[in-house]
Amino acid sequence: MPLDDAFQALKTYDWGTDRAPVTPITEAVAAAQSNAEARQDLESRLLAALSSDISRDAKDFVCRMLTIVGSTAAISALAALLPDEQLSHMARYALERITGPEASQALRDALPKLAGKLKLGAIGSLGVRRDSASVSALANLLKDADPAVARAAAQALGLIGTPAAAHALLQAQPAAPLQAAVTDATLACAEAILAANDPATALKIYQTLAADTQPRLVRLAATRGQLACAARTA
C-alpha cells in the first residue's frame, strides 16, 4: 500500500530527505473530502505520527496535512503543542483552520498557560478566526503588562469586528504606545459593523474617533467612515 509506505517514510523524513515518499499522504489528504471513512483514517494516522518520535520537519508536515483533514478529534493533540517553542506555530497552523467552536475554545483555554511570542500567536489565531466568544478574554488582555500582548489583543478585537469588540476597544484606556493599535482596531470594527449593515453603530464609533485630539491620519479615516455611513443611510 503506497499510503502505508508513505507513513513509514515519515519516520525518517527530515530537512534534506526526498519528499517523494511522503507524497501519497498529500494526495490522499486532497482526495479525502468525499470519503469520510478515509478521512478519519488519515487523521488517526497523522495524529499517531504527531505523537511519535519523528523529526520536527516531519511534525511540520503532519500539521500541514491536518490543516485540511483535522477535525475536533485532532484538537486536544494540537492544543497540547501550543506551549512547545518549536511546534506551537505549526500546531496553530492546523488548529487555526479547523472549523467549529472547539478549536477556538482550545486556543482561548491556552491563553493563561502561554507567555511571550507563543501567547501572541494564540491571540492572533483567535483574531483570524473572528471568534466573538473571545471578546471578553481579549478585552482583559488589553490591560496586560506586556505591551506586545495588549497590542495583539487589540488587533484581534479589530479582526473580530463586532459591536462588543468595538465597545471593549472604546472602553480601553491604553498607554500612549498602544493608542495607535487600539485606534486602528476600533476603525476596523467600525468598517466591519458598517459592512454588516449597521451604519448607526458604525457612525457613533467614527464620531468618537473624529475628535480633534486624534492624529490627523485618524481624523481623516473617521471622516471617511462617517461619509460612508451617511451614504449607506441616504
Binding site: 523524513y13 527530515d14 530537512w15 534534506g16 530527505t17 519528499r19 486532497a30 482526495a31 473530502q33 520537519d57 511540520d60 508536515f61 500541514r64 490543516t67 485540511i68 483533514v69 518549536q86 506551537s88 506555530h89 505549526m90 496553530r92 497552523y93 488548529l95 487555526e96 483552520r97 479547523i98 472549523t99 511570542k117 507563543l118 501572541l120 500567536g121 491571540i123 492572533g124 489565531s125 483574531g127 483570524v128 506586545a148 497590542r151 495583539a152 488587533q155 484581534a156 495607535a180 493599535a181 485606534t183 486602528d184 476603525l187 476596523a188 468598517e191 492624529p215 490627523r216 491620519l217 485618524v218 481623516l220 479615516a221 471617511r224
Partner: protein, 405 residues
C-alpha cells in the same frame, strides 16, 4: 508587533512653518536646483527589500528628480550596504540610513512613501503596517500570498486614504497589442483567453546549510514556518523550479502567482475584468492533462494551461461591443511614474492594490483547485468557497508568532 501611526511628512509640511522645518531634512542633496523641484515638492522615499527586484525599483525611484530617497532596509547586510551606497552615490553624501528591521524605517515621520520588494510572505504585513504609518506604497507583485490577505490590504489602504500600487509593469506594457483591438471592439465580445503559466509552489525541505552570508534569518522567515537556513530557500533569483524562494509554498504561490501576476493581470486587463474575481474555477482533465477554466460573472472565461492553446490566445465573437478608451499610466516614467503621480494627486494608480489583489486571487484560486483536484465555486463578496469547507481552509495560513494580520 508594533503598529505605527502618525501624520505624514507632507501633511506636516502643509501645516508647519517652513522655518521650523529646514533643520530636519535640509541637506546639500536636498537643495532645490535648476532641474529639481524644491524639497517640499519631492516625495521622500525609502525601500524595503532591496535585492533583485528591489534593486531595480530603487534605481527607478532614485533616478527621479521629484523623489528624495532617504532610507533602505534589508535583512541582508550586503544588500543593505549596496543599496545605501547607491543612494549616497546618487546624492554625493552619506545621508541614507540603512535598516535591518522595516518597522524602524516605517516609524520615520519624514518618509512619504515606500517601495516593498521582499519575498511574498512579507507583503501583506508590510503593506498594512505602512498604511497604518501613513505611507503610500509601491508593492512588487505578487502582492499576496493567500486569499485572505488581499481584502485586508485593500481595507488598510482605504482606511487611511493611502495610494497603494501593485508592481507588474508588464500588465500594461507587454499586452498592449492585445488590449487595443479588444477594447476597440475589433474582436467583438471577448469569449475567452488562455494563460499558460506555472508551476505550483512546492513544499521546501532543503537541508540546513552553514550560513555564508550576514542575514537576519529569523526576520527573513518572519511569518513563515521556521526552517533552517539554506541559500536556495532564500535566494531571490527568478527560478520557480526549486532554486529560489519563488518555488516554495511558504514564501510564494510558485509560478502561478509569480508569472501569473503578469499573465493573469494582462489577460484580465485585456478582457476588462480587472475589477472582478471569478465566480467559479472548473478543474478539467483531458487525456491525462489537467487544466482550469475560470468563469466570470459576465460570461468571460479565463483558461489556464488549456491544451493545444498558446499563451494569451484570444477567442472573440461576432457579438458587437462599443469601443472604449484604454486606461493607462499617468505622469511620466512608466509604472513608477504612475505611482509618484498618484502620490502627488491622490488618484488611484493603474495597478491600484484592489486590482492587483484581484489578479493574485486568480492565481491563488487556481493553486487551490489544482491542490484539491476539483472544481470550486467562489463567492468573492464573502471571500469564501461555496460548499467546500476543505477549500476554505486553504484561503489562509497561520503566521509564525509574533506576526499577525
Amino acid at each position: 508587533m508594533s503598529t505605527i501611526q502618525q501624520s505624514t511628512r507632507r501633511d506636516f509640511l502643509k501645516t508647519a512653518s517652513a522655518a521650523a522645518l529646514v533643520p530636519y531634512f535640509y541637506t546639500a542633496s536636498a537643495r532645490a536646483s535648476a532641474d529639481r523641484p524644491p524639497p517640499s515638492d519631492r516625495i521622500v522615499m525609502g525601500g524595503i527589500g532591496i535585492g533583485n527586484m528591489g534593486r531595480g525599483d530603487q534605481g527607478a525611484f532614485l533616478g527621479r528628480k521629484d523623489v528624495q530617497y532617504v532610507a533602505v532596509c534589508d535583512v541582508r547586510e550586503e544588500f543593505r550596504n549596496h543599496a545605501k551606497a547607491q543612494v549616497d552615490g546618487r546624492y554625493n553624501n552619506k545621508d541614507c540610513q540603512a535598516y535591518n528591521d522595516f518597522r524602524e524605517l516605517l516609524a520615520r515621520p519624514d518618509i512619504d512613501a515606500v517601495h516593498i520588494a521582499t519575498p511574498d510572505h512579507w507583503h501583506a504585513i508590510m503593506v498594512i503596517e505602512a498604511c497604518r504609518a501613513g505611507k503610500d506604497v509601491y508593492c512588487q507583485k505578487p502582492e499576496t500570498l493567500t486569499l485572505r490577505e488581499g481584502p485586508l490590504m485593500v481595507a488598510a489602504a482605504r482606511r487611511y486614504g493611502r495610494v497603494v500600487s501593485g508592481g507588474s509593469q508588464r500588465v500594461l506594457e507587454d499586452y498592449r497589442k492585445q488590449v487595443d483591438p479588444v477594447w476597440a471592439g475589433e474582436l467583438g465580445k471577448l469569449k475567452s483567453i488562455n494563460v499558460s503559466v506555472g508551476p505550483l509552489p512546492q513544499l521546501c525541505n532543503l537541508p540546513a546549510e552553514d550560513m555564508t552570508e550576514k542575514i537576519d534569518w529569523d526576520l527573513w522567515l518572519g511569518p513563515a514556518p521556521w526552517a533552517p537556513y539554506n541559500s536556495k530557500r532564500c535566494s531571490g533569483s527568478f527560478s520557480i523550479n526549486g532554486a529560489s524562494w519563488r518555488s516554495f509554498i511558504d514564501y510564494s504561490g510558485g509560478g502561478m502567482t509569480d508569472w501569473g501576476a503578469h499573465h493573469f493581470g494582462g489577460a484580465t486587463f485585456i478582457a476588462d475584468v480587472r475589477e472582478q474575481q471569478p465566480v467559479e474555477v472548473k478543474f478539467h482533465q483531458d487525456n491525462g492533462q489537467t487544466y482550469l477554466s475560470y468563469h466570470y460573472p459576465n460570461g468571460f472565461v479565463l483558461y489556464h494551461n488549456r491544451p493545444n492553446t498558446p499563451n494569451l490566445a484570444l477567442e472573440g465573437s461576432s457579438e458587437e461591443v462599443a469601443p472604449k478608451p484604454v486606461p493607462g499610466y499617468q505622469g511620466e516614467g512608466g509604472i513608477y511614474g504612475d505611482f509618484i503621480h498618484c502620490v502627488k494627486t491622490r488618484e488611484k494608480p493603474f495597478r491600484d492594490i484592489e486590482l492587483a489583489v484581484n489578479t493574485a486571487a486568480v492565481a491563488h484560486l487556481g493553486n487551490i483547485a489544482y491542490t484539491l483536484q476539483r472544481s470550486l465555486k467562489w463567492d468573492s463578496a464573502k471571500q469564501e468557497f461555496v460548499g467546500d469547507a476543505d477549500a476554505n481552509r486553504l484561503t489562509d495560513r497561520a503566521r509564525r508568532e509574533p506576526w499577525a494580520i
